[in-house]
Structures are given as C-alpha cells and as structure tokens.
Symmetry: C2
Subunit: 133 residues, 2 copies
DNA sequence: CTTGACCTTCCAGACGCTGGAAGCTTTAAA
DNA sequence: TTTAAAGCTTCCAGCGTCTGGAAGGTCAAG
C-alpha cells in the first residue's frame, strides 16, 4: 500500500511515517515508480508505534518495544519492567506538575487581579518576599 | 558583573544566559575587553526568568511577564489571567498523564511478567483485543 | 488534455537549550 | 617571570520529534 493508506490505517501523518523510515523504525519496499510500498506487517508496526508513542514511550523505547515484539523468545518480564518504569516516570511528572500548580495557585489567590499596578505574582517572580516554594 | 557571577546569582548556566541575550530577553552592556557586563537590574531579570521558567512558563510567556513587570502601569489582572491559564494547562496535562498511567497500569497488571514469551502488553500495543482506552 | 490528488526529495524551523572547538583575557601559583 | 588554569568570546552543530514548504514526478478522473 502507498503511504497515504498506511497513514490512514496507522493513524500517523505521512510526514511522521517518512520520519520513522529515516530513523530506521519501519522501512518499506519501493514500487517501480519509487513510491513507498507498505506491507500489512509494516502497517501493524506503524499502528504499534502510534499506540506506544501515544502512551508516552520515547522513540528509542518504541524501538526497544518493537524489537521485543519481533523477538519470539523474549520474556514478558522485560516488557513489563519497561512499562512499570514508564509509570514511575509519569507519576514523577504528575508530582512535579502538582507542585507547580500549588505554587501558581497560591500566587493567583494572593493577586487581587484588578487594575491596580502592584501584583504579588510579579513580586514573587522577582524574588520579593517569597510566598512559598 | 561578568557572566559567571550573573550565572551564580540567577541560578542559570552561562550558556543559557547567552541564549537569553541572543533572543533579546536580557541584553547586557559590554566591558572594554568585550566581556558581558551585567548590571544588578540584569541580574534581577535573570533571576525572574529562572523562577518563571521553573514554574513552567514558556520563553514567550516569560517575555510577556517581563514586559508586564517592566510596565509600571500594567494591571495585575493581566498577570493573574496568564497565571490562571497556566494552571489550567497544567491541570490538563495532569489529567492526560493520569489517563496514561491508568492504561499502562492495566497493561502491567495483566502481564504475568515471567519468562514466557507471550505478553499482553505487546499484544495490546499491536492492537489485539484492546484492554482499554 | 487538463486538473487535482498523491507521491517524491530536500531544506529549514520549531523549542530551549547544550556541547564542543578555537582562540581570547585575566588571575593565581611556582 | 613564566606558565598554567580558569573564565571569557564567537560560531557551529545537535538533542527529540516532528512539521511545513518548495519544487517536481506520477496517477486517476472527467
């Protein structure tokens, strides 16, 4: 199939699919006219990439997952630990974002938000009398 | 003060400070020897940038915050709404990450994680019998 | 035969730095 | 005084992950 069809079934834009070829993730055959020719297996791999990318795996992690997927003798534990590690990273990010939210929330609560020129938020950013954090 | 000192008091690496000059955020004077010469005000602005970047504001948002900071007649409401908008973005990101976490958590729970070659996580990524999402 | 959709390649840009090379100046120690 | 180290300069390139655009080839429909 052409790249347009591959894009349709994988849910990835053609530009992204070409990029994935460039970095060696999914390298299709070529038709006589020079067009990329994706097999069904290629289509599966692209869909696999779309799904794992959307779950927050990096390109290199996806490469690893793909090679585990290709390896018929791999242990499922390898995959599980990669996923667990990803969960830990996500939790860490959430914790950081919650911290930011709290700090910004404090700032916003302290700001009267009217037309007066003094503003506790800017005062805090400038390092005056820190509210917190 | 030289860039090293400015780095020290702002908490930003020299490379970053040079970059901020390049994009016009903080442009210092120059000494006779060609070295950057940061005033105390420059130092404050760098610290301001360090703090607002660490709170998740983008460079362009920081530029806006700095100009609000410079403008003695600005309304604090402008700043407040920018901060509130940032909070909304953060909440949105947290919600997305929680969704990812749930999905990955389901996958991990379903995976036996031993040495057997079949793996529900890879099966899901490949699009077989979706567990959720 | 023409139009328009689709395909190709290549180059550049987005964000926000970060690293390194090559070559200054200044400072401190031997 | 010489020398070595630290700090400064500029310029160029790269990180990750695409995304946009230009210039041009190919194909299917009317």
């Amino acid at each position: 199939m052409n790249i347009g069809k591959a894009a349709e079934i994988s849910g990835l834009p053609p530009k992204t699919i070409r990029y994935y070829e460039e970095i060696g993730l999914v390298v299709p055959d070529r038709s006589e006219n020079g067009y990329r020719d994706y097999s069904d297996v290629d289509g599966h791999r692209l869909k696999f990439l779309q799904r794992s990318r959307s779950l927050g795996f990096s390109i290199e992690e996806c490469r690893m997952l793909l090679s585990l997927y290709d390896d018929k003798h791999r242990a499922s534990g390898d995959v599980k630990s990669l996923a667990q590690q990803k969960i830990d990273e996500i939790e860490e990010k959430i914790a950081q974002l919650n911290g930011l939210k709290t700090t910004l929330g404090n700032l916003v609560r302290c700001c009267h938000g009217d037309h007066r020129p003094d503003c506790p938020i800017l005062d805090d950013l400038a390092g005056k009398e820190p509210l917190n954090s």
